[in-house]
């Protein structure tokens, strides 16, 4: 690509302001006299023309639907229609016409504080619907043949238009010919975005067919494992309405003001109510703007900060011993010799032993009882149910003693508190934490004291934190420790939230009835394994686990041919996908270690993935690599309604189309139903997994079918929805029936003395599972990154600090590569919508565009076949990477120049934006580069050294698998069902009788994708000989910022001062 100087006169043809040329000014001189207007400040004679804007504003009708991308929020919007076309969207309000049904969110029983909901993405949904990247009809890749899939041609071959019937027949034929049904895989980003009539139906098909389902939840670092480790619960997020009740908020590594837009005001409002906010970020995150204090932190050192907070709280005795005794493992005794919790049967003769082996323990939910010391120093047994007021005694917190066992021996024990305290006091004093994190010790201590002093304190971390190999568990466990020590759990304005990913699905608790019908359930599948170990070249299973000394004992599992998994991880599914069908997911754009995935999983002759089907609205990078492409309607065009729920609001909402589809599209549910029908034709009854596949999708296929029957049946099977009539959702959102509004995680644990979902029934800090002990991570510590550190990798500070990471010191990869969530896109969606792209491109987002850029975008964007009409895409913007001015200067880069970023796994070329907000290397070794995520390959220039190479922001990210998270014996709550009350809920509730689970569970417990934990280098690629006019270069800017641009004179030299009067 040539970076030539922009020719503005040429660009002016694009419309806008080109005609604003100087010459036209002469025209004003020949103004004809106007006599009819006297003083337009007072009155104006003829105002009939005002009808012009009334006409622009006018609409024929209003219809509503719900915008619910993968952003967790789900907002009902009114669409204003003219001639059957939506011309604009507006948010819904209480009590107002025209609104959602009669009353907006009022029917959901919430106050006007929730008004309004719906961000700029919802407001451009109609533009997204009409933009040129839409897929217009089903297509098959020309190089693909059912007998000879020819994967090398993926992404390069042209497509051929086919009918829906042909496409469906090809899919069903391939499925029917599978020898092992498990090799049919459905992949969707997040189940809860389209639960019934969209990709949820894909899961239903996988379940009855006996296939696998993957979700991006696990893979995309959406799992916050520290939550599961500590509480046994997937992620403990509260309704946004609870946020503003906090007196003190710590927000760490989460850019909440840009990725929770709809209900963000609840957080901003805390400050008006006297709340204080402290941010912990490596860069000046936009959220820092709202913070009273910003503590700049070295990337990847976050756990040490939380441990430093714990240090001050322990050292200065600021903790809440009563809460700690009642609801945490801190008073429980732990054997010094084995690192296991001391069991009651070991101490008391008459105490029944739990089953001997772990499997039977899990089966019986009996892991033995635990032991505490009472106030007199006597051991007392403690069951997992004996929490809160139900404790048989008041246990001591600080115990370090010997206990006599029934076998006559004596064992040294410590309370969990003593263990954590000793470690924290020894290793995480504020001065040491300053060394680790670069956060000044006095300010850390001040923050800890203030936080402890606040009545209600809440703590946010984000998904960015999850992307660090160690932060996702260690930081989360440490934050929970602080919150538990301060009693900041279980009430509004208190808690620890992550809001990573969208486990919305739990809140629709009747859902298993639909997706796992008649006891058929798809196998879970972890994408990281597939991408790392299937296909052509495999990644080194030790290396991707940070097991550089090759100490892990790895075994083969499932379809895998070579050792890939640590022992005792048998519940993790490993099945090679012969047929992979992705829905609601731009898998290959968003995937980590993208080059590896494309070259070895997608395009390698040995991939064994014979058929790759992509259902999408847009010709994404993934669709471009598919064998069969199926076009789906936008939310505005959907024929069948669907349901959505979200983790930070209490609503259940039902969307439905507002306009006729403009292309030959079908919803996922209908496409799946057609496949099911074909499967009945192709598979003889005796070979089917169920009597009839079609029978599970009849409501889609029958003339008088009504898919809302599926929804109502599911509602009837869930506690949260039993009282809801699906017809009522046609008039507007309803509120889910939960224990509290706003929903506060663990309300019942703290107020009704119910156990947490761990073995001990308590928030568990020390972990006794073997893998935790083997890896020396049974207690809470900061461990340096497996790659992203200047110090010794994968080691605790004491050892790490005197070592050098050769990748950093010898190879000069000295930047952390940060790819946070953008605000104008949701991941990669809205990536090509004009207004969103202009704004997302910031300095490089142009309303009329760069002619060179135009060619690039259109070339890459066109359909590769004569059949698919190619329409030009407006050349509106491009990707950029932000870097600190001092780091840019080091490599002679100015704003707008192009740079090449290189990591161990790939490289990319991108425009540089010089940005004072980024962390410079000079601030403490690790610099930071920020490239907002979700760009499409079209937004990057070609690299002349590698013109055909994979392009995109994920070429240099990684696949890491933390073996800590590959443990079969970690106890947790299942996605659905509260085991504490599963016996007393009605038998028709889907989770009646649900018990605690253990080990792998999709969207709960799997290695999360810690995929950005890597180091990169950056070099100048090419000087731009044009860049957007840059206000920062202006001579005036310094005075402007300093407030001295305008001379401030005496004040009354030109006017006469007269007192009085309003502004």
């Amino acid at each position: 690509m040539k970076l030539s100087r922009r020719d503005f006169l040429t660009a002016a043809g694009a419309g806008a302001v080109g005609a604003l040329a100087e010459g036209a000014w002469g025209a004003t001189q020949s103004t004809e006299p106007i006599t009819s207007v006297d003083n337009p400040l007072k009155s104006y004679p003829n105002r009939d023309w005002e009808q012009v804007y009334h006409d622009i504003y006018a609409y024929d009708e209003v219809d509503w639907t719900v915008c619910h991308p993968n952003c967790t929020q789900s907002c009902a919007l009114n669409f204003y229609m003219k001639n059957g076309v939506p011309i604009r969207a507006e948010q819904v309000y209480h009590n107002e016409e025209p609104s959602v049904g009669p009353s907006g969110y009022e029917d959901a029983g919430v106050s006007q504080h929730w008004n309004p909901r719906g961000c700029m993405k919802g407001l451009s949904l109609h533009r997204r619907t009409f933009e040129p990247s839409r897929i217009k009809y089903p297509m098959v890749r020309k190089g693909w043949d059912p007998e000879d899939p020819n994967p090398e041609g993926r992404g390069e071959d042209e497509f051929e238009r086919v009918s829906w019937e042909e496409a469906i027949d090809l899919i069903a034929e391939k499925m029917a010919s599978l020898e092992d049904n498990k090799r049919f895989h459905i992949f969707n980003a997040i189940k809860a975005d389209g639960l019934f009539t969209r990709h949820g139906s894909g899961r239903r098909l996988a379940s009855v067919f006996g296939g696998c389902e993957w979700t991006e939840y696990d893979w995309y670092a959406d799992l916050p494992p520290g939550h599961v480790i500590t509480t046994g619960y997937q992620t403990s997020d509260a309704d946004a309405a609870a946020w503003r009740k906090a007196d003190y908020t710590i927000i760490q590594g989460k850019n909440l003001i840009h990725n929770k837009l709809a209900d963000n005001h609840f957080l901003q409002e805390t400050r008006e109510r006297g709340g204080k906010m402290v941010g912990v970020y490596p860069d000046y995150s936009p959220t820092v703007q709202k913070c009273d204090r910003w503590l700049p932190v070295r990337p990847g050192s976050d756990p040490a900060f939380a441990l430093g907070m714990a240090h001050v709280i322990i050292n200065e005795g600021l903790y809440d011993p009563e809460f700690m005794r009642k609801f945490t493992s801190l008073p429980l005794l732990i054997r010094a010799d084995t690192g296991k919790y001391l069991r009651a049967h070991e101490v008391f003769e008459d105490h029944e032993e739990p089953p001997e082996d772990l499997d039977t323990q899990h089966e019986h939910n009996d892991w033995g009882d635990f032991v505490v010391l009472d106030e007199n120093g006597e051991p007392v047994p403690m069951t997992r149910e004996e929490v809160g007021e139900e404790m048989p005694t008041t246990p001591q917190l600080d115990v370090d003693t010997d206990v006599a066992l029934v076998d006559g021996s004596t064992v040294t024990v410590q309370s969990d508190f003593a263990r954590q305290r000793d470690n924290i006091i020894e290793n995480y004093d504020p001065e040491t934490v300053e060394e680790i994190t670069t956060i000044p010790a006095d300010k850390l201590a001040q923050t800890a004291r203030e936080f402890a002093d606040a009545e209600k304190g809440q703590w946010f971390t984000g998904e960015g934190i999850n992307h660090w190999f160690h932060s996702n568990d260690a930081l989360q466990r440490a934050v929970f420790l602080v919150q538990a020590m301060l009693g900041n759990i279980g009430d509004a304005g208190q808690g620890y939230y992550n809001y990573s990913g969208q486990y919305k699905i739990e809140l629709l608790d009747g859902y298993p009835h639909y997706v796992n019908p008649d006891g058929h359930s798809a196998h879970g599948m972890y994408p990281g394994y597939a991408f790392a170990f299937f296909g052509g070249e495999k990644l080194d299973p030790h290396e991707v686990r940070g097991d550089f000394d090759r100490e892990l004992d790895l075994v083969a599992q499932g379809d895998a041919e070579e050792p890939v998994m640590p022992k005792n991880a048998g519940s993790y599914t490993m099945s090679k996908p012969s047929v992979l069908w992705t829905m609601n997911c731009n898998l290959l754009n968003q995937t980590k270690h993208q080059e590896h995935v494309i070259e070895n999983f997608v395009k390698h002759p040995d991939t064994e993935n014979d058929l790759f089907i992509v259902s999408d609205m847009h010709m994404t990078y993934s669709a471009r690599h598919a064998d069969i492409v199926l076009p789906v309607p936008s939310w505005l065009e959907c024929e069948y309604p669907d349901i959505t729920v979200g983790p930070e609001n209490p609503f259940v909402q039902m969307d439905h189309g507002v306009m006729e589809p403009i292309y030959d599209t079908k919803q996922d549910g209908e496409a799946v139903a057609m496949v099911a029908e074909k499967l009945d034709e192709k598979i003889p009854p005796e070979e089917r997994n169920v009597d009839s596949y079609r029978a599970y999708f009849e409501e889609f296929l029958e003339e008088d079918g009504d898919v809302t029957n599926y929804i109502q049946e599911t509602f009837d099977r869930g506690m949260t929805t039993q009282s809801i009539d699906v017809d009522d959702l046609e008039d507007g959102p309803e509120r889910l029936d939960l224990k509290t509004y706003p929903r506060i995680p663990f309300y019942s644990q703290v107020h009704e003395d119910r156990p947490f979902y761990t073995k001990t029934g308590r928030m568990e800090f020390h972990k006794e599972e073997d893998r935790f002990i083997e890896l020396d991570r049974d207690d809470i510590d900061h461990v340096e990154s497996v790659e992203g550190t200047p110090y010794g990798v994968n080691k605790k500070w004491e050892e790490a600090k005197d070592e050098e990471n050769p990748l950093y010191h010898d190879e000069g990869n000295q930047f952390y590569y940060n790819t946070p969530h953008p605000k104008y896109r949701t991941h990669s969606s809205w990536g090509m919508t004009d207004w969103n792209l202009i704004w997302a491109s910031r300095d490089f987002g142009s309303v009329s565009g760069d002619p060179e850029g135009t060619d690039r975008l259109v070339d890459d964007f066109s359909f590769p076949t004569g059949d698919g009409e190619s329409e030009d895409v407006a050349p509106l913007g491009e990707a950029f990477v932000e870097m600190h001015p001092s780091d840019a200067e080091n490599i002679d880069v100015e704003n707008g120049d192009y740079v090449r970023i290189t990591g161990k796994r790939g490289d990319l070329v991108v425009r540089a934006m010089v940005s004072e907000r980024q962390r410079p290397r000079s601030a403490g070794d690790m610099g930071q580069l920020t490239l907002w995520h979700g760009w499409w390959p079209q937004h990057f220039p070609d690299d002349e050294a590698d013109e055909d190479g994979v392009k995109g922001y994920n070429t240099i990210t990684n696949i890491w698998l933390d073996p800590l998270q590959e443990t079969d014996d970690l106890v947790h709550k299942a996605v659905f069902g509260d085991p504490n009350v599963s016996d007393i809920v009605d038998e028709d509730i889907a989770w009646h009788g649900a018990e605690l689970e253990h080990g792998y569970e999709e969207t709960v417990w799997a290695p999360t994708g810690t995929n950005r934990d890597d180091l990169v280098d950056v070099e100048k690629y090419e000087e731009a000989d044009w860049w957007p006019g840059d206000a920062r270069r202006d001579d005036l800017v310094e005075d402007y910022i300093g407030g001295s641009l305008q001379p401030s004179g005496s004040g009354s030299s030109t006017g006469t001062s007269t007192p009085g009067g309003d502004d």
Binding site: Y44, W49, Y93, G1051, D1062
Partner: protein
């Protein structure tokens, strides 16, 4: 040229037209709390999708949010005028020969990048330090940014109106909205040059200039503008800026509150918390901003006050910088009355004419005297009775 008294400046200056003898009973006005703004630009998209998605309007963002100090649409729009004007000179005082208003035409390139500087920050990275603000000790963030939503101010001394040679721009008698007659305009672009806020925009396809319309089709129905109703940050309140303490109940209904409109309270009461954008230009803009409390007052003094050494208007404090500090403190720690009014922000699409604030309840009435807002300040938690209920289903 006529002289007019400008209360924002506390003095008279020239303006080409005589004002009405009496202020309007009703005048379009808006308050924006920048501390709540999250720069989502939903307002911008709402405005654009409603008014400027036609041909020749591709570059027009009547509503836009800029990140100060580096943002600007058109680029650097305010720097040039600040540099050109003498101290205590309005754009009318500074008009050059043959013109009514001092201004400049922003070049095409300056309009090209509406998101320029979006989310950028200014300052040194705090190596080995922290960044914090403590208003009581006059401590502000030394690396900073803030979001400035920008729109037409429907000024009481409109520069566009003053500059139009065809008198095609007028101020509506009933609500003060400044409109550009699309039928009379010949596209001379004097208003484009004159408006210091650069909101009139020329349409090259039609040859006519367009300017923001204050959403008058909505105002006429008693609804607030799109940029207000779409604001998910609840940063805005729209209403009658002229409704003072002596006005009767809304709609003449005794069930409705009387007295000030909520925005009049925020702007004109003794606990003023909102300031106009660049009052020194002299146009008497009617959009008022609750200033960002973490930002150094020196910058805000230049942006939100007359910025003269001697303070001449009736704002609190002895200097304009002191005014800013006082207002920042009020925005950070609002009184109960102000906190109450903040609950009205984003609560309804109806235009709130009057209101009252009780200990834990805030109510608002529309222009017809209908109650349109009724919310508690503190909401109690609801707990469902029965052992079977859970928050972790």
């Amino acid at each position: 040229m006529a002289q007019t008294y400008n209360p924002q400046l506390g003095r008279e200056h020239s303006y080409p037209y005589e004002h009405r003898e009496e202020e309007r009973d009703y005048h379009w006005g808006m308050v924006i709390n920048t501390n709540r703004c999250i720069n989502c630009n939903t307002c911008s998209f709402a405005c654009k999708s409603t008014w400027t998605s036609g041909e020749g309007e591709e570059y027009m963002w009547w509503m836009n949010v800029e990140t100060e100090p580096y943002g600007g649409y058109p680029m650097g729009w305010d720097m040039r005028l600040l540099d050109d004007l003498e101290a205590d000179q309005t754009i009318f005082d500074a008009a050059e020969n043959g013109e009514q208003v001092r201004g400049y035409i922003a070049e095409k390139q300056a309009w090209e990048y509406p998101a320029l500087g979006d989310d950028q920050v200014h300052g040194e990275y705090p190596e080995g330090e922290v960044v914090e603000s403590d208003l009581e000790n006059d401590e502000y963030h030394d690396i900073w940014q803030f979001y400035l939503p920008r729109l037409c101010n429907h000024c009481k001394n409109p520069a566009c109106l003053a500059a139009c040679p065809r008198k095609a721009i007028y101020k509506r008698e009933e609500d003060g909205i400044v409109l550009l007659d699309q039928e009379r305009c010949r596209g001379y672009r004097r208003c484009v040059k004159a408006c210091p806020y650069h909101k009139p925009m020329y349409n090259p396809e039609t040859g006519v200039t367009e300017k923001p319309v204050g959403c008058y089709p909505r105002i006429e129905e008693g609804n607030v503008p799109r940029c207000v109703s779409s604001c998910i940050g609840k940063t805005r309140l729209h209403g009658n800026i002229n409704r003072g303490p002596d006005a009767g109940p809304a709609g003449g209904k005794s069930s409705a509150a009387s007295g000030r409109s909520p925005i009049n309270y925020l702007v004109h009461s003794d606990e003023k918390v909102a300031l106009p954008l660049y009052p020194q230009f002299g146009t008497q803009p009617q959009v008022f901003y609750m200033p960002p409390y973490h930002v150094p007052p020196e910058f805000l003094t230049q942006m939100f006050t007359p910025n003269t050494e001697v303070k001449e208007n009736e704002w609190p404090g002895d200097t304009y910088e002191e005014s800013v500090r006082i207002v920042q403190e009020r925005a950070r720690n609002p009184s109960h009355e102000v906190l109450g009014i903040l609950q009205l922000f984003g609560a309804t699409t109806r235009l709130i004419e009057t209101y009252n604030v009780k200990e834990n309840r805030v109510k608002g009435w529309d222009r017809n005297g209908e109650k349109v807002v009724d919310v508690p300040i503190e909401e109690p938690m609801e707990v469902r009775e029965g052992e079977q209920w859970t928050n972790q289903p």
